[in-house]
Symmetry: D2
Subunit: 348 residues, 4 copies
């Protein structure tokens, strides 16, 4: 159906087509390419290198203030296959955010959900609905849909991290709402630990006895610290996993951390390629440690810490570490799963 079609190029058909167009109708038999044998994402495999990102973010830091009116100093990875849309894959926005010492990115909220994955440094606090959360390298921080969030750099150095949002998906669903936060709520309030970790972070399988019903399906634990993730990966490798593979989960349900985004961390030992597989849905990769080659579809990318990868739907991926690689992956897999559209397979 995708490749052949019936085209009666005579006078009567032309008349019909003209009249159809006048009535906002299109004939299916003239619409090849709607139903393809397998997914044909417009986004292409792609890498953004840490060095470029750091240099350009630094230059932006010199030129562009973070103030009401700008709100965020963010550089979005624009997949070259998406014809100018500022999205890394069809359903995800990925960007680096850069904040200098003393700067504050003021509070706002929106229905698109966001996550921060910290590549280097510390000193920044993200405040989520009033809960101040310190950010350090390797940490995953959540700002679920419609939670107020702001960023404060109370440290000595500029800091940069990866932001990923489900913005293109929420936009495609015509469900974007946005609201500014109270502009005077910019005090830096930095307790030793976030309230979310006090309540949900003491250990696996320990929940508050009287857990308040959460307003959404998002994880009530908003920070996942690198130390614990590292411990889990180390234990898995010792147990024979290849690669080690952690899924970040809502501790109150075991489900994904947010209804629209799955977060995972992989550790690839050096010396041999990982199994080659593909799955439906778009993914964003981010190298935390290590180096080597990541193959996406037919393209090979040399990667180093801080590099960001676009992995479009149904593109097979394999990783070959020169030096042990820790790779953070976030994807729209919960969406595809909820809708009965998730597929994965070993790829040739």
């Amino acid at each position: 159906m995708a490749t052949t079609r019936f085209t009666p190029r005579d006078h009567d058909a032309d008349m019909l087509y003209k009249e159809l167009a006048e009535h906002d109708l299109q004939p299916l038999w003239e619409l090849p390419g709607l139903l393809t044998v397998q997914p044909r994402p417009r986004a292409v495999p792609c890498v953004w290198h840490a060095g470029d990102l750091a240099r350009l973010a630094g230059e932006a830091g010199e030129l562009i203030p973070v103030e009401r009116g700008g709100d965020r100093r963010v550089l979005a990875c624009a997949n070259p296959g998406l014809r100018g849309d500022p999205y890394i894959v069809s359903t995800l926005w990925a960007a680096v955010q850069f904040l200098k010492p003393g700067e504050v990115a003021p509070a706002h909220r929106h229905t698109p959900a966001a996550l921060r994955f910290v590549l280097e440094g510390d000193g920044v606090w993200t405040v989520v609905d009033g809960d101040a959360i310190p950010m350090s390298a390797g940490d995953l921080i959540l700002t679920p849909s419609w939670t107020f969030h702001e960023h404060h750099n109370s440290g000595e150095a500029a800091m940069m991290w990866l932001d990923v949002l489900d913005l293109p998906l929420v936009a495609a669903l015509d469900a974007v709402f946005y609201q500014d936060g109270p502009s005077d709520d910019v005090r830096i309030n930095t307790p030793e630990s976030s309230r979310s970790e006090t309540r949900y972070g003491a250990g696996p399988g320990l929940l508050p006895g009287r857990a308040a019903p959460e307003p959404s399906a998002a994880s009530p634990l908003l920070a996942f610290r690198w130390a614990a993730t590292d411990r889990a990966l180390t234990a898995q490798l010792a147990d024979g996993a290849a690669p080690a593979h952690i899924r970040y989960a809502n501790p109150a349900t075991g489900g994904d951390v947010m209804p629209t985004m799955r977060c995972e961390m992989f550790r690839y030992s050096s010396g041999f390629p990982s199994p080659r597989s593909r799955q439906t849905g778009g993914r964003v990769g981010c190298v935390l440690h290590g180096s080597g080659v990541v193959t996406i579809g037919d393209t090979e990318f040399s990667v180093a810490p801080g590099d960001i990868l676009a992995i479009p739907s149904w593109q097979a991926m394999t990783v070959t570490a020169a030096e042990e690689i820790d790779l953070f992956i976030t994807s729209d897999a919960p969406v595809l799963t909820a809708l009965g559209l998730y597929r994965e397979e070993s790829a040739p």
Copy 2:
């Protein structure tokens, strides 16, 4: 954030922007309109009138054969706000399909799910994974994701019905798969009742004792007959509902009939306007009986049986029946609900 922005139009910034573009990066502060205060769908409220649809489908029936290579004689409602995309709202495809006596639309399957809503007549059988289902006026017939389906007109007259698919959504998720069916399986096998109704259709709350695990979350009952729907609406009106409002459900779970599409039927009594409300997500309306005025956003549409309506996200709707209206609505509400993005409210 949506309306104001910081724009340092000096030489250094221009240099930075140029370099960003070379590295496939876009500065957020130059991207107004990404985060809007409320949804701004590109699709606009719209109506396709039954008379036009019947006349043009009939003309297509004269000119365009249904054969392998074309597969379906279908006219898609192309929302004028969507700049040429053949979609009725952002996430849904709606079209009329026309099949003449003796014609067969051959078997195929695809991951986009489809439903048929019959506006008039009978004589057509839709075969879903080998189960032959007769179609008559007012019936809702499902062909869930990845089920083989074909249509046979074994009647005396041409027949036309409404097709709705979640094609734009599945395409946006890069999850379209397609497969032709076996070409020789075109016998017309027409038992008195479909197997799906034999197993699930005897009455409310009666399930097969040994229900086989269903392969997906789609309803195992594939046909919802008008007689029962009419009975339910009549009972609700007698019970004081205004309007009467039925949600078609998977009898084995109570959930929506397919993971991506909600189906509902409303009966509006004549004489007074229905409450005005709006909700996130796109909807398609189809008038089965009656006449009156449907207001979507700021636009009033006079409607009659067979008319098809585009109701974009967050556009308030109200119905004022001159003659009692039965209105079929299908929407992406299950998607928005699953992702925590569903909102609805009374509208001013």
Copy 3:
């Protein structure tokens, strides 16, 4: 462990045992029979014949008024294996209730859930939380946990039906609560159809569009009519089922009609025995139509319409119909399933 044990019958042990008893302690090694290789229910297979039930209920009707103080004219099947407890199997109470013309069994409610299965006749209305439900032969009527219920015989003849409650289970869980209803609410209010059927009974897969959140997991549809059940069984037999087997379900969830009781209807064609199988949990059978032999464990029972059967846990059952048998079964299967304790198997 069940059969052998260590028993040091010397002086020191005797002293220890004495002291243990004084401290309310019991030594496990002196407790054979706690952990058995397979279930050893105390209840035994048993039948109560319709003729006896009708005669004795009629005599009770002559002697015992139904009034506040007595509330219900009910004869409970007391399994002879349960040593005087008025229960038919370990977890279920089964009884016949008898109501004469003009009599009213006044309103009360309790946490044990109840169902009525009507063996013959009509004219009685059960009012459940204000919803008046007529009862006729073959109907299943629910009074879920903690719903007020009362019975009115507005007909010309006495009527008798089967009551089943999860009373022994709720008692074993120390969770029985009871409350009298308002004594003056004894008007006979008999609309043509119950509100529960108006809202949920029009057809399979048709739910109210704005279903109110139900207070419990019990079915909002409270009456399952014989005509629909009969239709479902007939369709299954025509489709090759042997036996035909329906599970009554909550139309809003597909789950069992109440959290503690599964209800099923089987139709056995005459001429050959059904497959022999067994399952954990206690069951109550009730013959609606037909005759033949039911074998439970090693015992054969000749059955006729109106007979009631006790089928204890893990006792294999088979049915051989002389004349096509319709057999209603209710069980605690949802409890065992929820707790991970349900097992079933073909039995030798």
Copy 4:
């Protein structure tokens, strides 16, 4: 209904009663006490003191070997209200188990689920389906339904811990199955950490990426260590909780650790009584640290570390710590919740 009844003590009634008894029928109106206004558990509030338990377990250790034939050296708390049944409340078995250095309690499995709560010491390994788990003071160890389990004391000293099983519940449901383990599998295999903790124990919200579907709803994490529990309680107290209250959870679902037993830990600060409340279902308490007074119903119990408490259904409880108390509680709350029978309230 519970207190008054109609009793026609005349000749005809006597004849009827006699005939009913002959037919295994009991008249409801002669069965007072079946439906009580609120739960009336037979079990009574009770305490077993640590000193007695240790002394008597030690004596049993001198007299009773642990060998095939005895399997377990266990002293069961027999609630004096339960008339000789060896159960602590209606639905739960609680006991102390005592194992001397070098002893092995051999492998078996049963459908009743069990948990161990360690009061003092270490050196014992429990092997669950081949996974060796070390036990130390304050740890909670699970042996879910139908998992093989054995205990090895490889330490220098005898060790004693609390066992709780849902045995009375599973027995009441006629669902007890039992099987001996392979007798030669008594090697002591003691890796540094259990496989269950390697996979699920690294931190909150970190799950194996490819979690194998678990055979039951029981937690795949089988050991909950005191260090993490203590940390969680400390954080809650600092956050203002009174008392601190943790629910042990299945990290893969957030549900209770086993389908039939909830486990909780409370920390009561000294100086003021806790809120008084009651709930349906039976509970077992065990004091890990601290001292004070526990009031259950109308009875006050002075408690010290190692004491075991019986808290019957619907008995109000309050705790007044002289010295900060850590109180472990296990209950049948998941059962009552699953069946719609759970109630709790502040008590007068």
